[in-house]
């Protein structure tokens, strides 16, 4: 049976497949971390910053949301090389997709900030809190909670975007799939297995975020469970 032979070949390649999965997960986590660390300040700057700051941020955000991920990957990989700077495909992928994610995440957080009534900020300021303190102690705890559902969507989206990184030579899960597919001459079975791995990675992440959302739920507020 051909299928069994292919599965056996994948089975033999279990170590490389796991290694590829590890790279995919590392890529996803790194780019999400960059996206979070940049996206949150970008959102705050867009909402609370002056006109110059918010304009710069809007330009950044529009730019990174308007260029295809694949084009960004090429720009970040080949771009530095033209200036004589060599960066690894892995780093180029993290930066390209991380900056891109920061643009999308900034809009998640901006939406969440704007969904919080002005009253919270006014009350904080009326107690004598500086704007920064009010953001840290009052606004952010609410914003982060409210962002989890959309952030979960961003997670599942960028996890699958990382598969594009093979185009610049990152040896991720998808890339290992190619190698095994060429060896076994049975791409369907190989990519079905690869697809299942992506499926479970997505499921695990979104399940975790759903759990986190419940865990951080503010008592007394309506949740998905009580509305539905």
């Amino acid at each position: 049976m051909e299928i069994l032979e292919t599965l056996a070949a994948i089975g033999k390649s279990i170590i490389p497949v796991l290694r590829g999965t590890e790279i995919t997960v590392a890529l996803t986590f790194s780019l999400l971390a960059i996206g979070l660390m940049m996206g949150l300040p970008l959102a705050l700057g867009q909402v609370y910053g002056n006109k110059i700051i918010s304009t710069i941020i809007v330009v950044y955000e529009r730019t990174f949301r308007s260029i295809p991920a694949l084009v960004l990957l090429f720009l970040f990989y080949f771009g530095p090389a033209t200036f004589g700077i060599y960066i690894s495909p892995f780093l180029a992928a993290i930066l390209a997709l991380g900056f891109r994610s920061s643009a999308y995440q900034s809009q998640i957080f901006r939406g969440a900030i704007q969904s919080i009534g002005q009253g919270q900020m006014m009350a904080a300021r009326s107690l004598g809190m500086s704007k920064l303190k009010a953001i840290i102690y009052i606004i952010l705890p609410l914003v982060l909670r409210r962002s989890i559902p959309s952030w979960s969507n961003e997670y599942s989206s960028v996890l699958k975007d990382t598969a594009l990184a093979f185009a610049i030579g990152v040896i991720d899960l998808n890339r290992w799939g190619w190698r095994i597919a060429i060896r076994t001459q049975d791409p369907i079975i190989v990519f079905l297995v690869i697809g299942v791995i992506y499926f479970f990675l997505t499921l695990a992440g979104t399940r975790f975020l759903r759990w986190l959302e419940k865990e951080l739920k503010i008592p007394g507020f309506q949740s998905r469970d009580t509305i539905g």
Binding site: G117, G119, Q120, M122, A123, A124, R125, S126, L127, G128, M129, S130, K133, Y137, I138, P141, L142, R145, I218, P219, G220, F221
Partner: protein
């Protein structure tokens, strides 16, 4: 320099504010002595809330001066975060911090703004919560409370900063009628304790029974101000009389 006058805590002089060239406040002047309660009334959209927000500079006035206890609130040299610590504000929509328990709502000002040690702040917060009758709700979240309880908690949050002056922006307007009384009782107790208060409200029962002076504002100007009995029984202006009889009809005299 502030003109010296004994016992004046808050002095407002020639305050003006426009939004998009539309004047909201026009040349407002008044003063509040220590321990006094003044109630500001007037039709909606006449700048009462704007006036209140100018007092702690949540809104910046275009011109005019405000002094609190000898410090010019309106001066750009004044550390406004410092000044706001001594001006408590109670909002129509309570604005309790949604993610914090009642205790943490009351404690956050003392701990994060005044840097009071947590244990001390907890004692202070519980003390303030007992003043508004909410110690048993210390562990609850705002969304688990009734409107009246939320407003009392927000008063406790303000009191925990030990303010010199308290501003109330229509504190009972968002409440169901049966919940108004519990908030007014807390406010009356504050008056009795000697707190200086400026209250925007149409609770005439409250105004007549405890306030020192009613300020009637219409279209951004003070039409008339004076002790409640004077305004109710001998109003100088026709508009004052009309407005007072209208809201008395609407809100009733008896409550509070």
């Amino acid at each position: 320099m502030e003109p010296i006058e004994k016992n004046v805590l808050l002095r407002v002089r020639h305050l003006s504010k426009s939004y998009n060239k539309e004047p909201v406040l026009k040349d407002i002047s008044f003063k509040v002595k220590k321990g006094e309660t003044k109630v500001i009334i007037g039709p909606s959209g006449t700048g009462k809330s704007t006036l209140l927000r100018c007092l702690n500079r949540l809104t910046r006035p275009d011109s005019g001066q405000i002094w609190l206890d000898g410090v010019e609130v309106t001066s750009s040299k004044t550390n406004i975060n410092k000044i706001r610590q001594s001006i408590g504000m109670v909002f129509q929509d309570f604005n309790l911090f949604a993610h914090l328990t009642v205790l943490d709502n009351v404690r956050i000002g003392p701990t994060r703004v005044k840097k009071i040690p947590k244990r001390e702040a907890t004692e202070l917060a519980l003390d303030m919560l007992s003043r508004v009758g909410l110690v048993d709700k210390a562990g609850a979240y705002p969304a688990e409370l009734s409107g009246g309880q939320q407003q009392r908690a927000s008063i406790a949050r303000t009191l925990a900063m030990r303010p010199k002056l308290m501003l109330f922006d229509e504190p009972t307007s968002a409440l169901d009628p049966e919940l108004i009384g519990e908030v007014l009782i807390v406010m009356k107790n504050l008056v009795k304790s000697g707190m200086t208060m400026v209250v925007v409200s149409h609770e005439m029962g409250f105004a007549r029974s405890v306030c020192d002076e009613i300020i009637f504002v219409e279209k951004g100007v003070i039409v008339e101000q004076g002790p409640p009995d004077e305004l109710f029984l001998r109003p100088k202006h026709r508009r004052t009389k009309e407005f007072l009889s209208k809201i008395t009809e609407l809100y009733g005299k008896s409550e509070g």
